[in-house]
């Protein structure tokens, strides 16, 4: 954890203003090793899946399934990666997904059809993100506390709206997007959304001023402020971004499950944080990688898939998941430190 005091880096871990070529190359290689080790873990998992269940695992339908199941949490994780990179945390993502999904599926909203559902889901997500952002940036609240408060109230409001009931979606145009007929060239629409969000997220983090500012704020907020960055406004935007991702994810979840329920998005915050961390984003901020986060999500989804295909029960699944998180982080640290 020596990175704390180091100057701001961008997502690949290099110092932006690096003039010293050897150091630059060393850091670059380190980042690549990190990604490579994740790809290695994923390859090992694919090998295990392929050996234990060749017919079911190595199947186009299964690839579609794994990517679809990972797409909702994947979009949330992209937003989370930005927040963590800036040194923050968003514990409210699961609750925001729940609130947005139930608000967007009330009888009243469904009267407005496809557009009404999409609009409501996104707006509710953004609005929750706005509240988080204002509390943290301008209310000077600790992100942990502010988003924990949002978690509680958003879940509560979701429960109040649904009254604990499952809201079933009856709009055909929404439901159809989750069916096989909607696949384009074999790619499910939800997976396309995930891909687009990932690409945009990668571009923003790595190729824009906004991305560099995010990394700078996470690396050293005071230095960033002295360098002329409006740290508070940057933080506000970041929680807005996370809220927006939650809104999109809520709409995707509505398509996937054909309903809205106040229990939606259960423990998404932990899944998203875990995926970002094993992907290589630094929990203390200053370094973030969208590629790593997406690989993290895919690793988790693949594990779940292999376990289910092999009919292993939830107790074994949970134990193994914990062990794999620890193993993945240890392997990463080892490979990163030996180069």
């Amino acid at each position: 954890m020596t990175q704390h005091a180091s100057p701001p880096r961008d997502s690949t871990g290099k110092v932006p203003s690096a003039g010293a070529a050897p150091a630059w190359r060393g850091l670059m290689a380190r980042a690549d090793v990190r990604t490579l080790s994740l790809l290695g873990v994923l390859a090992a998992l694919i090998l295990i899946g392929g050996i234990t269940k060749p017919d079911e695992f190595l199947d186009t339908r299964n690839l579609q399934l794994v990517l679809t199941q990972g797409s909702v949490i994947g979009v949330v994780t992209v937003g989370m990666t930005f927040v963590i990179t800036s040194g923050g945390i968003d514990l409210s993502v699961g609750a925001i997904v729940a609130l947005a999904s139930v608000w967007a599926t009330t009888v009243a909203t469904q009267e407005y059809g496809f557009a009404g559902i999409l609009f409501t889901a996104v707006i509710v997500g953004v609005a929750c993100g706005l509240v988080n952002g204002v509390l943290i940036a301008y209310g000077a609240m600790v992100p942990f506390i502010a988003t924990l408060a949002m978690l509680a109230s958003a879940r509560g409001l979701a429960l109040q709206i649904t009254d604990g009931k499952t809201q079933i979606v009856t709009i055909p145009s929404v439901l159809d997007l989750g069916e096989r007929d909607a696949y384009v060239l074999g790619i499910p629409p939800l997976v396309m959304v995930f891909a687009v969000v990932t690409i945009i997220g990668w571009l923003i983090l790595n190729r824009t001023t906004f991305g560099r500012r995010t990394v700078a704020v996470g690396g050293n907020a005071e230095a960033a402020r002295l360098a002329g960055i409006d740290v508070r406004r940057q933080r506000l935007y970041l929680y807005l971004l996370s809220g927006l991702c939650c809104g999109i994810a809520a709409f995707m979840l509505i398509i996937l499950s054909g309903s809205g329920q106040n229990t939606n998005g259960n423990l998404y915050e932990l899944d998203a944080i875990a995926a970002a961390i094993i992907g290589g984003t630094l929990l203390s901020g200053g370094r973030g990688t969208i590629t790593g986060s997406v690989l993290g999500v895919l690793i988790f989804t693949t594990i779940t898939n292999i376990f289910a295909l092999n009919n292993l029960q939830s107790d074994v699944q949970q134990i193994a998941k914990g062990a794999i998180i620890v193993a993945a982080v240890l392997v990463q640290r080892r490979t990163a430190s030996t180069t």
């Binding site: 604990g164 069916e179 229990t263 939606n264 898939n305 107790d315």
Partner: protein, 345 residues
Amino acid sequence: MPELTSRRGLLFGTAAMGAGALLVGCTSNESDDEPAANDQPAADDKPGKEVTIGFAGPQADHGWLNAINDNAKSRAKKYSDVTLEITEGSNDTAAQIGQIETLINKKVDVLVVLPADGKALTQVGLKAMRANIPVINLDRIFNTPQAYRCWIGGDNYGMGLNAGHYIGEKLKGKADATVIELAGLDNLELTQQRTQGFDDALKNYPNIKKVARQAAEFTVESGQAKMAQLLQAQSKFDALWNHDDDQGVGALRAIEQAGRDDFLMVGGAGALSAFQAIKKDDGVLKATVLYPPTMAASAIDLARALGQSKGVGGMAEFEIPASITLYSAVVDKDNVDQYMPTGFK
């Protein structure tokens, strides 16, 4: 009002079962005289002594629990002699203990408690009983019978058993039949009981083999996710038992998305959407096994009878029974109309 008759029927039928041993004693009375028990005071719809019933339940965060609250409220409203003191539901043990203590201090006549956690709330049940406020323990059972006067609840083992028997009969004569199970939250004892019952029932049918089981979390989202995996894992099977109709909404979505219809599905709990699908009979869902939320209405009946020092109609005793286990009926196309009004959203 078919709704009321069916609920009463359910109550009385199951009450008789729960106290079956006692009834045997009465039926063996071969005297020509009218049995003395015939004129025991049974609680009926006529107004009697005023009773204040305190009701404390967990937070109604899903359909079944919400139906529990609705059933209790509407049943209490039916009786002009019943005042219902209902607390804000809570999943927090400490908060629920506080609420029940408030009801004790208010000196309600009878308490109906559906604990968020049965074991953790035993002490407050004991406290009420010691304060001479009889407790009707609803569904999640206290640690000791001293903490309640009467327990009434569903039969998780029986749910699995009846689901297994229904599937067993449907697949009778089919050689090498396979079934899969979409269980509920594995952390809960009730999920283990449901699975145990299901497995025990299947032992009666040597031609059937359970080939896969995955646990969802009683939510639509988890039902969709786990079912999608199960369908990918099992390219062919004959029947599916899903523990819970709420997660069943998600499971049905996954089945639709995978374009599968080559098996029969049995649900659990008794949600309205499941009843409607069974009635329509155009999908895989052919039946559901009840875990009736009407038990809350029955609990109000029992509490009222207790408050008025009466027994329950249809039974010979002067008192209400100490324990009532409800029957997990199988609802399929043939009897779904009867149960439709009890379906919860």
